[in-house]
């Protein structure tokens, strides 16, 4: 066998994709329906426990079912945030987002401190974002019953 052929190393490049049907179950289902129908952010909690947001079936700390619904937000306080400079593909769409963008953890009013909501923050100057800033959820006009029905959070300008 000629040597030049030995050198070729074969690679197979492909996008692997499997269509999925993700069930919401009753709890996430109600959370998403409230975003869709009422622009309301709803958390759940087990009796006497912290809020869970996004809502989940069970409070991992108490191992009790989260059965009480609590309306929270749409305003809240930035607990933490990240300014992202690294572009990566969204594995649900394969699309890559423009950078920089900001992701934030928001303690929504009424949710207490155990359940910051994880979302995007729209701020004109990432350098001026600080923990503790007040923010508000901005809903899309066209909604589909998904987390992205909240387009992002925006900073409430101090007056």
């Amino acid at each position: 066998m000629p040597d030049d052929k030995k050198a070729e190393l074969i690679v197979s490049r492909q996008v692997l994709s499997i269509p999925q049907r993700f069930a919401t179950g009753p709890i996430m289902g109600r959370f998403l329906a409230e975003l869709l129908d009422n622009r309301r952010i709803m958390a759940v909690r087990a009796p006497g426990s912290r809020c869970l947001l996004p809502p989940r079936e069970v409070d991992a700390v108490t191992m009790q079912e989260a059965v009480e619904w609590v309306e929270v937000g749409p305003e809240g306080t930035i607990r933490d945030f990240d300014v992202v400079y690294y572009a990566s593909p969204d594995p649900l769409t394969g699309e890559t987002r423009d950078v920089p963008y900001i992701i934030c953890w928001v303690d929504l009013d009424g949710a207490g401190e155990g359940a910051p909501l994880w979302h995007l923050l729209d701020a004109p100057d990432p350098g001026k974002v600080r923990c503790g800033m007040r923010v508000r959820a901005v809903f899309n006009d066209e909604r589909c019953g998904c987390m992205e029905d909240i387009r992002h959070f925006e900073i409430i300008e101090e007056t």
Binding site: I18, R21, A23, G25, P26, E57, V58
Partner: protein, 380 residues
């Protein structure tokens, strides 16, 4: 084994074609709640100390799919280790964590939602290597078809016999409240079902299924406090065969014979033909009922056709649950077998109860055409 491990509680969801109204977390929580209720155990050093979970990232479309269920298996600030293989392997590992002395009480919880992916075949296709076996379109169904072809040619098992295996599965499934598919079928119905991959017809193949299983396992010392009807795991064995289908004896039982031999050696079983009151084997496909029966030593190697003809499945009380053919998700095939064996040994099997069952054999398998085989011996 110098010491023994007991299964103290089991719970299964109803197996269904499409649990569209529940997340995987919800399925797991349903069975975790049940085993907690059965035992009265809470999580913590005096109760359930740690969890072993069973799931698969590709089926769940999720990296580290156990992170999705850490909450519902009580593993917040506790241990949780995921076996990404057939659920019988989860039993194997949970037993090891107790025999080692590391834990006394362990929760084992498995889930699989086959309906979530567009097709199960798209998932199992990805088990094949990218250059030699994926391009020709192999998946576990095609692999099972090549195995069935080899097995039927070698042993003379007929299509009618396989149809009867399916008919029998449905008859038993009608007595199992959690079975996915208990619609009665006649031999003609089965033989009228469309051919998927010769010689496998649609009704020869286990149906797409969603479900979850949970168990609580405990050391001998603790088991007595938890339940007055412990079921002891007295033998365990597993074994891998080669990957490339052409390099295996597809009609044989290289891995299963070794897995069973290990389990029987541990349990002190000399003659498997007479050793078991109940047998649950993982018949993902109808031909595997006689094939695995050979591998488990219920009949002679190559004797599957005769075994079927002589009523072997009834003589050995095989798959009174309806078996895998009645519908369990792939990842939980062996775990559901163990669960059913436990119900039988506890006398909780209702209309399908094998009277006075004292010793059971449960079998699990995994990979293309059963590349990995697991055998578990359980005793009342």
């Amino acid at each position: 084994m110098t010491s023994r491990v007991a299964i103290c509680a089991v719970a299964q969801t109803k197996y269904e074609a499409d649990k569209w109204d529940v997340r995987m977390q919800g399925m797991v929580w349903e069975v975790v709640k049940q085993v907690r209720a059965q035992t009265g155990l809470d999580f913590g050093d005096d109760g359930i100390e740690a969890a072993v979970t069973v799931s698969d990232d590709v089926f769940d479309a999720r990296t580290i799919s156990d992170s999705a269920v850490t909450d519902v298996v009580g593993a917040h600030f506790r241990g949780e280790e995921k076996v990404a293989s057939d659920g019988a392997q989860g039993v194997y590992y949970a037993v090891a964590t107790i025999l080692s002395g590391k834990h006394d009480v362990v929760l084992l919880a498995g889930h699989c939602k086959e309906s979530q992916a567009a097709s199960r075949n798209m998932v199992t296709h990805l088990a094949f290597d990218p250059f030699f076996t994926r391009p020709v379109g192999l998946d576990y169904l095609a692999a099972a078809a090549l195995q069935a072809d080899a097995y039927m040619r070698k042993t003379g098992v007929t299509e009618d016999q396989l149809a009867d295996v399916v008919v029998r599965s449905r008859q038993w499934a009608a007595k199992n409240p959690v079975a996915r598919d208990a619609t009665p079928l006649t031999r003609d119905d089965v033989l009228a079902s469309p051919m998927l991959a010769d010689p496998i017809r649609e009704s020869f193949m286990y149906p797409i299924t969603d479900g979850a299983v949970a168990m609580i396992l405990a050391s001998e010392e603790r088991a007595r406090d938890i339940t007055d009807r412990p079921v002891w795991v007295t033998g365990l064995g597993n074994c891998y065969d080669s990957f490339f289908l052409g390099e295996r004896d597809l009609a044989g039982n290289f891995a299963l014979e070794r897995a069973a031999a290990r389990a029987y050696c541990m349990a002190g079983i000399k003659n498997p033909v007479t050793a078991f009151d109940v047998v649950e084997l993982c018949d993902q496909c109808a031909h595997q009922m006689p094939q695995w029966a050979e591998g488990l030593g219920l009949c002679a190697a190559g004797g599957g056709a005769v075994w079927l003809a002589e009523g072997g499945p009834d003589c050995h009380s095989v798959n009174r649950s309806g078996g895998m053919l009645a519908g369990n998700p792939l990842m939980l095939g062996g775990m559901a077998r163990v669960a059913e064996a436990v119900l039988q040994l506890r006398g909780d099997a209702g209309a399908r109860q094998a009277q006075g069952a004292k010793r059971a054999l449960a079998h699990g398998c995994c990979g293309p055409a059963g590349q990995l085989q697991v055998a578990v011996v359980l005793e009342a």
